[in-house]
């Protein structure tokens, strides 16, 4: 699904990622953990195509294609989805309108007809129930006046409707209370499938209590310094990140 080879990324003259290697197969969940400033968000931004980052070395292959060459909207239509850490507000544009426009853009890209209005509404309402959201959210402007938790749930709603192949969750757990975290996690879990992969960028182990990763990677100073199974996250929770620095230094 996704193959990252020796990826170096700079912002301006400043190198942020310094040789990332990562293989993600269909159906796998990978957690990327690490301290502040380790390059976690940069990685999710580069994968989704945000401007302002320069790939100086290495490659990213997604479903056999060069991902870096693709425009961000093309990546989205090809199935790359970023659940934003800070979802933006779009005043005056209703949630349901954005969802429909996005879904149709993706369908068109794959040569499919526009979604039928009734089918669309049925689909959206089903997903809204799944995420225990109020239907009123659909008709409110995108993220405008939403609480932090509502914004994150809204991201997962979009994911559930657009059915991407590669889901990147950028600190989705931040700002969520425990109830919201459970709901969001259940939403994500319901989307797990053998064809869909997840990259979960997170600070804390607690998200991983609800969404079980297959692999955990620790990012520090722009490199993956340690990879392992779910047990690695528990170890980090216990010892913090500093022991890794010592290990790397040694």
């Amino acid at each position: 699904m996704l193959s990252i080879k020796n990826l170096h990324v700079s912002v301006g003259d400043k190198p942020i990622l310094k040789g990332i290697n990562l293989e993600i197969k269909a159906g796998e969940i990978h957690a990327i953990m690490g301290p502040n400033g380790s390059g976690k968000s940069t990685l999710s931004h580069v994968l989704s195509g945000k401007s302002g980052y320069t790939v100086t070395e290495g490659s990213v292959t997604y479903q056999g294609k060069d991902l870096i060459e693709m425009a961000p909207d093309i990546r989205a239509r090809e199935g790359v989805f970023l659940a934003f850490q800070y979802p933006v507000e779009i005043p005056g544009v209703s949630n349901v309108y954005l969802l429909k426009a996005a879904l149709n853009a993706i369908r068109k890209h794959h040569g499919e007809p526009e979604v039928d209005a009734m089918d669309f509404l049925t689909l959206v309402k089903e997903k809204v129930r799944l995420l225990e959201m109020d239907e009123k959210f659909l008709y409110r402007a995108v993220n405008e006046g939403f609480s932090g938790g509502e914004k994150k749930r809204n991201e997962i709603l979009q994911m559930a409707i657009l059915e991407p192949k590669l889901c990147i969750l950028d600190e989705t757990d931040s700002g969520l209370d425990i109830d919201a975290l459970k709901i969001v996690s259940e939403g994500v879990n319901s989307l797990r499938s053998p064809e869909r992969s997840f990259v979960m960028v997170t600070h804390y182990q607690r998200l991983l209590d609800y969404i079980k990763p297959d692999f955990v990677h620790v990012l520090a100073h722009g490199q993956i310094v340690k990879s392992g199974g779910p047990e690695l996250a528990l170890e980090l929770e216990e010892k913090g990140y500093s022991w890794l620095d010592e290990q790397v230094a040694a």
């Binding site: 989704s48 195509g49 945000k50 401007s51 425009a71 961000p72 909207d73 990546r75 989205a76 239509r77 989805f81 970023l82 934003f84 800070y86 979802p87 933006v88 779009i90 005043p91 005056g92 544009v93 309108y97 954005l98 429909k100 426009a101 996005a102 879904l103 149709n104 853009a105 993706i106 890209h109 526009e114 402007a141 979009q158 657009l162």
Partner: protein, 482 residues
């Protein structure tokens, strides 16, 4: 949302699509303006003598005036002697007009613009007056309206058929001395629409006028007069387009609305005159005076405008709130792209007691365009408990454009409440990226964000117009990203 993505996309992929020219035989005056031209004009239109007098008085006054320079727009001085003041498609004979008598090329032009004049093909519920250059070529559903007592006809016809109404109301809201362009219009106006809604009548359908400039080197001077008698109600729409030409063309219109006791007038405009090319060459100068007189108690006038066209727009649809408890509203979207300039806004003059006004202005500036909101809220001593709410938002697309706001507030009555809110924002990189990350192209994303920004105004428009306005915004923003 009733507009499908596909429709909007098709529109975005085109340039100014109303830019075609219709080849016609015309009666056109040679360029130039003096009293003999005005005599000739009045004669061609077979006007009563009082009109000729009115025109000459206006013309003499105009000659003493100077072109206004206070607006935030730049253009070379206009040579008024280089303009032709009358151009009309040739007609065989005067007499009752039926569609068969109209030049098929003209009918075809309206069809191309999506305004079929054949009543069978029209959407039921909208009557159209079609003004082509200097004349009205057709007015639909006249019979049906007449049954309801509504008069809807070209103003040139009203001058002959209803002189008593003309004498009483023409120039009573915008006098010929009002301003430079209003004076010029009073001297040389050629056609436009006339509406009279009798007492207690709710107009059974939407009325609309579609203005088309076709001939080169002509000016279009339209005059519209709408009178809503006591307790009546009318909704009126206007649309405007013109061919693409390298020269600038002048459109100097005057619109007067009169709302008597308990009457309501809703006036909506979608202005899409040719804006000029990407380098700022050509385009229409849209210098328009629009004013409503809320003469009677409890009367209400609501202006809604979507201004996407014209090289320069200079226009301030206003309300004079004379009647007690009268209400004035102004909802505006003004979009400028490339080198377009707009200086537009409103005036709300509170005279009667408990008068209320609402102003919602949305200015969008892209490319190298300049967009100015200029508004006056004036509360006279007599206007006890007057209230005004003004909201004025500007949105910038890119970093080479400008947005300016000039609000003027004059309050002479201590019990008045006047509120003003203003914001300026930019379409952020983050908003764009968010939309793109959901699969939308950059242009679709901008179009969606801008439409969202304008939502409060669009919901004031009649349904059919709202759809057109949304599509137009997308089209007018073409090439503004990237």
């Amino acid at each position: 949302m009733s507009t499908s993505e596909q429709e909007i996309k098709n529109l975005i992929s085109q340039e100014y699509k109303q830019g075609f020219v219709t080849e016609l035989e015309t009666d056109t005056f040679p360029p130039g303006l003096d009293e003999t031209v005005i005599h000739r004009l009045s004669k061609v239109k077979n006007e009563p003598d009082f009109m000729l007098e009115y025109r000459l008085k206006a013309f003499r006054h105009w000659q003493t005036m100077k072109s206004p320079e206070w607006a935030f727009v730049k253009f070379d001085p206009i040579d008024y002697q280089a303009i032709s003041y009358y151009s009309a498609p040739k007609r065989k004979e005067d007499g009752p007009k039926s569609l068969d008598e109209i030049d098929p090329q003209v009918l075809d032009a309206y069809k191309k613009l999506g305004i079929p004049l054949d009543e069978q093909e029209r959407l039921a519920g909208i009557a159209v007056d079609a003004v082509f250059d200097s004349v009205s070529v057709a007015t639909t559903f006249k019979g049906k309206l007449k049954d309801a007592g509504v008069i809807f006809c070209p103003i040139s016809e009203a001058l002959r058929e209803h002189p008593e109404l003309i004498k009483e109301y023409l120039g009573s809201v915008v006098p010929h001395t009002d301003n430079y362009f209003a004076a010029l219009n009073a001297a040389v106006f050629t056609d436009g629409s006339f509406v009279y809604i009798p007492k207690g009548v709710r107009c059974p359908m939407e009325l609309s006028t579609y203005f088309r400039i076709n001939a080169a080197n002509t000016g279009q001077f339209e005059r519209t007069l709408i009178i809503a008698d006591e307790g009546s109600h009318v909704s009126y729409l206007e649309g405007c387009t013109a061919p693409m030409r390298d020269e600038n063309q002048l459109h100097a219109a005057v619109v007067e609305l009169i709302a008597l006791k308990d009457a309501t007038i809703k006036y909506s405009t979608v202005q899409n005159w040719y804006p000029g090319d990407k380098e700022g060459k050509g385009g229409i100068y849209n210098f328009v005076t629009k004013r409503a007189d809320c003469r009677g108690d409890n009367s209400k006038v609501s202006w809604t405008q979507v201004e996407t066209g014209s090289a320069i727009t200079w226009k301030y649809p206003s309300c004079v709130l004379k009647g007690d408890n009268s209400v004035g509203e102004f909802y505006s979207v003004a979009l400028t792209n490339n080198y377009q300039q707009a200086d537009t806004g409103t005036k709300m003059i509170h005279i009667g007691k408990n008068t209320r006004s609402t102003i919602v202005s949305k200015g969008i500036s892209a490319g190298k365009a300049q967009n100015t909101y200029r508004g006056l809220v004036k509360v006279l001593k007599s206007a006890e408990n007057a209230r005004n709410y003004t909201q004025c938002d500007s949105l910038l697309v890119g970093d080479k454009c400008g947005a300016h706001t000039f609000p003027y507030v004059e309050v002479k009555q201590p019990s008045a409440q006047v509120e003003h809110e203003a914001t300026t924002s930019k379409i952020s990189e983050d908003q764009l990226f968010f939309c793109q990350q959901r699969g939308l192209s950059a242009e679709d994303a901008v179009s969606m964000i801008v439409n969202g920004f304008c939502k409060e105004v669009f919901r004031e428009l009649p349904m059919e117009f709202a759809v057109e306005a949304q599509a137009l915004l997308g089209l007018s923003l073409e090439g503004s990203v990237g």
